[in-house]
């Protein structure tokens, strides 16, 4: 087939990656290319869209999901190469507010989140479908505050949009990944959710079953290597190992 | 006070058309070869085309006077204009076309809808739309619309073109009756010398 990976224009493997990994993977790709390899072609979109592209037979080589559910789905369908799945990075969940505020609020059991909203809404990624939102719901439930805020949510399309709502003052507080909060100067971290309050936030990586690109597997291995992990850590992602211990 | 006191110059691409008309007769015919500017002059009197200069007064009422800055809007002039191209409203029925101007009647009521439809032989067409009419039917409805509007004066641009002799005679009689009973001022464009002789007290050639 005449897909992008084998028309010679793009030497490198085609990597479908969760949008929230953009900066980290771009830097990793640069590093990799700097070592004399063909630069991987990175396509960022929502995990659901990319999983469907793989199911439809699109000529991708590698998939980095923000969501284990989609990776499970692909694995069950036989769309990913046996044994190639691994956790590439982890993340933490934080409560954010505008950077000009001074509120600190420790997300511990029963903390008074509803009150801190002062009648405003809590920006989150959509809590049924978007991974960041599902983690937020899990954490808030576990801490016993879900019922007090579940009608006071501003569910956004994805975690970046939730970030934007807080940055623009449309919502006084929000729940995002630590990596997102670190990247936006107009917000500050008000508090970090304890790791035990939500399922581990893992970014699984895997090779697409039909991948034929020469160095695809090598790039995956690079990402999991110390050098690759160092790049990811530079962008605030937690190490792959941590997840493995869960 | 003359019925018509008109002295205007109208601009058309590449030419100017001048009309100077002082008349005490209530019906004045305007003649002249095709393309000379008859329709343009009527448009100017109706307020659809602004003259370069001059003055228009009909029955003592000043409609336009460049010098004193008077320029009545078309709807204020109270004319009943039978356009050369009829201009029936395609979205309205014949009846709705006929009664379009009723609510703005300015002069005396010249006729009623029933009488007018009868005189013009269009009573059977009232529910139709203009697109499904013959050429002569269209013409007759255009005449009816102008009469029913209760005008202060009439502008008739070849009203009887494309009508057969019997119809033509019937409508000529209607116009004569209006002329005699209401002394309504009329400007009548026609190429038919007999019509002109019969109707008009005066004829100006452009």
């Amino acid at each position: 087939s005449g897909g992008a990976s084998d028309d010679g224009k793009h030497g490198g493997p085609v990597v479908l990656a969760a949008a929230s990994m953009h900066d980290a993977l771009e830097e990793a790709a640069d590093e990799w290319a700097g070592q004399g390899h063909a630069r991987p072609v990175l396509s960022f979109a929502a995990s659901s869209a990319m999983a469907r592209q793989i199911e439809a037979g699109a000529p991708a080589d590698m998939f980095v999901s923000a969501d284990e559910a989609w990776m499970d789905e692909l694995e069950e369908g036989g769309f990913i190469r046996d044994g190639s799945r691994a956790v590439m990075a982890t993340n933490a969940l934080v409560l954010i507010g505008p950077s000009d505020g001074s509120l600190t609020l420790d997300p511990v059991s029963g903390f008074d989140l509803a009150d801190a909203l002062h009648g405003g809404r809590l920006a989150v990624a959509e809590t049924e479908s978007v991974p960041a939102g599902r983690y937020a719901k899990a954490a808030l439930s576990q801490l016993g505050v879900w019922d007090s805020v579940k009608d006071r949510l501003a569910p956004a399309e994805n975690v970046r949009a939730a970030l934007l709502l807080v940055a623009r003052g449309a919502a006084p507080l929000g729940v995002t990944y630590a990596t997102d909060a670190a990247s936006e100067p107009r917000v500050r971290v008000v508090g970090t959710f304890p790791a035990h309050s939500h399922p581990a936030i893992r970014y699984p990586v895997a090779m697409v079953a039909t991948s034929k690109a020469a160095e695809a597997a090598d790039f995956r291995d690079y990402l999991l290597s110390d050098a690759g992990q160092a790049v990811l850590a530079g962008h605030g992602f937690g190490p792959a190992e941590q997840a493995a211990h869960d | 006070m003359s019925v018509f006191d008109i002295d205007i110059t109208v601009k058309r691409p590449g030419r100017r058309i001048a009309l100077s008309l002082q008349a005490d007769e209530s019906v004045v015919a305007i003649t002249g070869p095709s393309g000379i500017g008859k329709t343009s002059v009527l448009d100017a009197i109706a307020g659809l085309l602004r003259p370069l200069e001059g003055r228009i007064a009909v029955a003592g009422r000043v409609l336009f006077d460049r010098a004193s800055g008077i320029d009545l809007k078309p709807e204020e002039r109270g004319c009943g204009y039978v356009f050369q191209d009829s201009r029936l409203f395609p979205h309205l029925t014949v009846e709705q076309n006929l009664t379009f101007g009723l609510r703005h009647a300015e002069g005396e009521a010249l006729t009623t809808l029933a009488e007018c439809a009868d005189l013009l032989g269009i009573a059977h067409l009232l529910a139709r739309r203009p697109r499904a009419l013959s050429g002569g039917e269209t013409r007759r409805i255009a005449i009816g619309r102008a009469l029913l509007r209760g005008p202060r004066f009439l502008l008739l641009d070849e009203p009887l073109a494309s009508l057969d002799d019997d119809r033509r005679e019937g409508i000529l009689q209607v116009i004569e009756r209006i002329r005699d009973r209401f002394a309504l001022p009329m400007l009548y464009v026609s190429h038919n010398p007999e019509e002109v002789r019969r109707l008009a007290g005066k004829a100006v050639a452009l």
């Binding site: 659901s48 999983a51 934007l164 | 078309p74 709807e75 979205h91 379009f100 499904a132």
Partner: protein, 232 residues
Amino acid sequence: MLSPTEWQIVALSLKVSVVAIACVLPLAFALAWVLARKRFPGMLLLDALVHLPLVLPPVVTGWLLLLSFGPRGPVGRLLNDAFGLAFSFHWTGAALAAAVMALPLMVRAIRLSIEAIDTRLESAARTLGAGPWEAFRRVTLPLAAPGVLAALVLGFARSIGEFGATITFAANIPGETRTLPLGIYTALQVPGGETQVTRLALVSVALSLGALVVSEWLARRGAAGERKGHVL
């Protein structure tokens, strides 16, 4: 057939779209009329502004709406102080987003119809005693009916399908701003959500098919009187 939650989504979508299109129609007509009939400096700029929501990715439009109509935006603050109107996270915000996205389509359709009108008919109405406004109401407006009808269909369809600007500006709040596309999107994010996606998508299609049927019926009723008996 549909679950209560799904019915809620459908009802909300209808409310949002109907309100959006009803409110934006007069504005669309006014813009179309000005663009069709007037020549003025800045006309191109106005034209471009109207097209903006078409050109920009919907998310950017939503973002711009947030900047201007959000609680901290200049217009948003004004409207809130003056009329107590709040848009963000409110169904009115979804309606505003739908209206803004539908506007360019509606303006174009109406403008095309207005440009096709023979202005000599308006002159005829004026000689019959109708002032500019009456001539507009009795001649221009009915003659522009095909464009208005097309605008309603296009606008309604577009607003039933509007996603990006709505979710960015008004968020995805169940019962408040979760319209059909947002419901569909939510379902699309989860593996196995396809059956719900299909169900909601079919409802969307049914809604705008309904609008189509009504519009074609109205169009035919309007044209019926003008039918010609000709072969050609």
